[in-house]
Amino acid sequence: MPVNNQPSANSKRYILSLIRVCREFDRARVRQIAFRFFRVLGLLLLCAIITVSNRNFIRLANLINILRQASAQIIISIGMTVVLLTGGIDLSVGSVMTVGSAVSGFFLTQTGLPWPIALLAALGAGTALGLIGGILVAKVKLPPPIATYGMLWIGKGVSFGIMGSTPFFGFCNEFRYLGKGYLFGIPFPIWIMAVLVTITFLFLKYTTMGRSVYATGANQFAAKASGIRVDRVLISAYAISGFLAALGGVILCARLNAVDQDIGAPFLLPAIAGPVMGGTSMEGGQGGVGSSVIGALIMIVLTNGMNLLGISSLWQQFVIGLVVVLAVWLDVAIKKRS
């Protein structure tokens, strides 16, 4: 403000306009951006804390390592995010993931077929399971958690049918490149993850189909009455989730160079918690890909950090549980403010 003690009409107008600007300023758009920023800030804060207590964290090698670990989970969370946006939930991703890796493992080790076939078969299997889940939700109108919980068991059955309980191992290098290869000095899974994140981002933001996903989540009836083919939207959402879960499984087993029965199970709950931590609402219609990335990163960074700090894995579960709750709470609180 100008430093003359009797404000001229000029400065008065200036102040008024300033106030008006401020009023405009704390409106929706700016706020939403601010909220995104809050989450990123939280993540950065976390990183800072860890760095202070252990320098190794900030080393490029470690950051890459974190991203590489996160890639599989993020890929799965993306699919979950799409499902969450439709107002549903997919409890089957874990076992679909196992199926994906089991199928690829089967084709790679038990048949002489080239690895692309294995890849395609795995993705196909995942998508198919997703489709069934979607049909159960959209056509039979089962509540999503119930339908997908059923699919979880179906998935278990399938993967056991494929490989019993002896893991497949020793895959060809071309296939393993998916998991351990490097491109321009960056691990290949990270590339895959980045590409998928971009694609899904564009899909959700800039395509009619993506918009239908949001609409369906926001209000199914209205969506139907607005000429959106809700059934198709739902089914394809679950199919996408299945597809991505299978892909995640493929990448994981390509890194592991082996498949076992429990390969996917541990990924289910983080895949749900992640997006929600990142700000995707479980009622549907609100959120986006960014949420799944940030959420997943928060969790991976946390685990990585705790390992760096040598916190016993016995207590890590506790910390993660706590952080999940707090993060979501913060998110809810901030949303309420707007």
Partner: protein, 500 residues
């Protein structure tokens, strides 16, 4: 004795203020309710009626101001206190638990117990049915509410409120979903209660009801207290003026034009439930009114034509070409729009921003490639927001923060954006303030003049009479009569109620 009961108000609100993030919902509102009076509260949507009611009920806490019951100031005021002081609310949205029995709903929160712990179901059932009988309803109180019709649910709602033996009964648009006989019944109940000295706050949009039932009327506008009048001493249009703050000389201004050829023709529609052999036709450039009581099958007809519900038999013909099986996407493509009756449920995406609500239907036709160009979308949204003067015009604002009238406009905008040739308006102005009403009517004018065909379903006879070129009347799932423009209300009412 009686005198001083008369002049000591049951309830007084002095200088009530209430703000929500972004809006000042109530500004220094005064209100007073005497025993044994029906005090009608009117005002446009967003005028703050509902907020005021919620404050009275204790559901909202006031920011400042005083609440007096029987002249004593109430320091802490919440749901429990207000109930204990005898405030009984009947909300616009039903507050019933769908899966539970009528009795349980009526006694929710005041269950009858035996031995202090266990529910006394027998007693509850008995008293519940007594309660219903006392307002002239006969229901099996064991039925789950979800198995009742809307009207019945409304009655349960009222019975629930009355069961409190409240001294202050608040009715928020009680008649919006009721059929004519049910409304009559409701009014009887209200009169009975008034004679018992109960104070009744009656919120309504239906001008005629003020005269029918009201003793005094208070007007709110934009959260401000405008004034209170005795109904006996005031003209309706004066009230309208107070409400909208400007003169509205003619509610229904229709400029009629020459109808073109048939746009929509349906023959012998049956859905196996409500619709029994419905046939009608709508021409380009005309508004066809569809009158009839609630439950006569009007809404079902609209939904069936648009393809939301499935048909058993019958044919739909659009612009001379017959439609094999109508479904929403198909109707959309062919240029048929449905403004649904249940706006909140079928029309809006509350958490989506305004612009997305407006554009949602037109995306597919606008962006054939499937890729959205945000700029184009925004300009579209802006265009229709200006056209319909939707307030506030912030395209990023979530529509759940808009007032009822503006929400309705959003739904209309959504359909206009598609540019449909045939529009089905189901209760286009229900629960909308006078101002918005006229705007919407003008809009319908423009549309028909531009050659669109409109099928308008409405429970408000004046609207039907004022707006339509032709009038069909439905009764029990059939079209029982067709009248030309300018037919008398009684005639239509008679056929709507099945006298022929």
């Amino acid at each position: 004795m009686k005198a001083d009961r008369e002049n000591r108000p049951l309830l007084q609100l002095l200088g009530i203020n209430k703000a929500f993030p972004g809006v000042q919902a109530l500004k220094k509102v005064d209100f007073e309710l005497r025993p044994g009076e029906v005090h009608v509260l009117v005002g446009e949507n967003g005028a703050g009626k509902s907020t005021l009611m919620k404050v009275i009920a204790g559901a909202h806490t006031k920011d400042s101001g005083r609440i007096l019951i029987d002249g004593q100031e109430q320091r802490q005021w919440g749901p429990r206190v207000s109930r204990s002081k005898g405030v009984a609310m009947v909300y616009q949205e039903f507050t019933l638990v769908p899966f539970r029995s009528v009795a349980e709903n009526i006694f929710l929160g005041r269950e009858k117990l035996k031995t202090r712990v266990f529910l006394d179901k027998v007693k509850m059932y008995r008293e519940a049915s007594d309660q219903l009988v006392s307002i002239g309803i006969d229901l099996d109180v064991r039925l789950p509410v979800m198995d009742l019709g809307v009207g019945e649910q409304q009655m349960v709602e009222i019975a629930k409120a009355l069961a409190l033996n409240g001294r202050i009964l608040v009715l928020d648009e009680p008649t919006s979903a009721l059929t004519v006989p049910e409304i009559e019944l409701l009014f009887q109940v209200i009169r009975r209660l008034r004679s018992k000295g109960v104070g009744i706050i009656y919120i309504s949009h239906r001008m005629e009801e003020i005269a029918q039932i009201g003793d005094r009327v208070t007007v709110l506008r934009d959260g401000e207290y405008i004034g209170t009048r005795n109904v006996s001493e005031v003209q309706l249009d004066q009230i309208v003026v107070m409400m909208v703050g400007r003169e509205i000389n003619n509610l229904f201004s229709r400029s009629f034009c020459e109808p073109g050829d048939v746009a929509l023709r349906v023959k012998g529609l049956r859905d196996g439930r409500r619709l029994k052999d419905v046939s009608l036709e709508v021409r380009h450039g005309e508004v066809v009114g569809l009158a009839g009581l609630i439950g006569s099958g009007r809404t079902e007809l609209a939904r069936a034509v648009f393809g939301l519900d499935t048909l058993l038999s019958g044919s739909i013909e659009l612009f001379g070409k017959s439609v094999a099986k109508s479904n929403p996407p198909g109707s959309l493509a062919l240029g048929v729009g449905l403004l649904p009756e249940d706006r909140k449920r079928d029309g809006l995406f509350p958490i989506l921003p305004l612009k997305h609500n407006v554009s949602i239907c037109s995306l597919r036709s606008m962006f054939r490639s499937g890729f959205i160009n945000p700029k184009v979308e925004q300009s579209l949204a802006k265009e229709y927001i200006d056209k319909l003067q939707i307030q506030p015009s912030d395209i990023e604002r979530q529509v759940k923060y808009l007032s009822g009238g503006n929400q309705q406009k959003v739904v209309i905008a959504k359909w206009l954006a598609v540019g449909p040739k045939v529009l089905i308006f189901d209760e286009p102005t229900r629960g909308i303030d006078v101002g918005a009403k006229t705007e919407i009517h003008c809009l319908m004018n423009q549309l028909v003049n531009a050659g669109h065909a409109i099928l308008m379903i409405s429970s408000e006879l004046p609207e039907i009479l004022g707006m339509s070129d032709r009038i069909y009347v439905m009764y029990e799932g059939r079209i029982v009569a067709e009248y030309p423009q300018g037919t008398g209300a009684e005639l239509i009412m008679r056929s709507a109620m099945g006298f022929n």
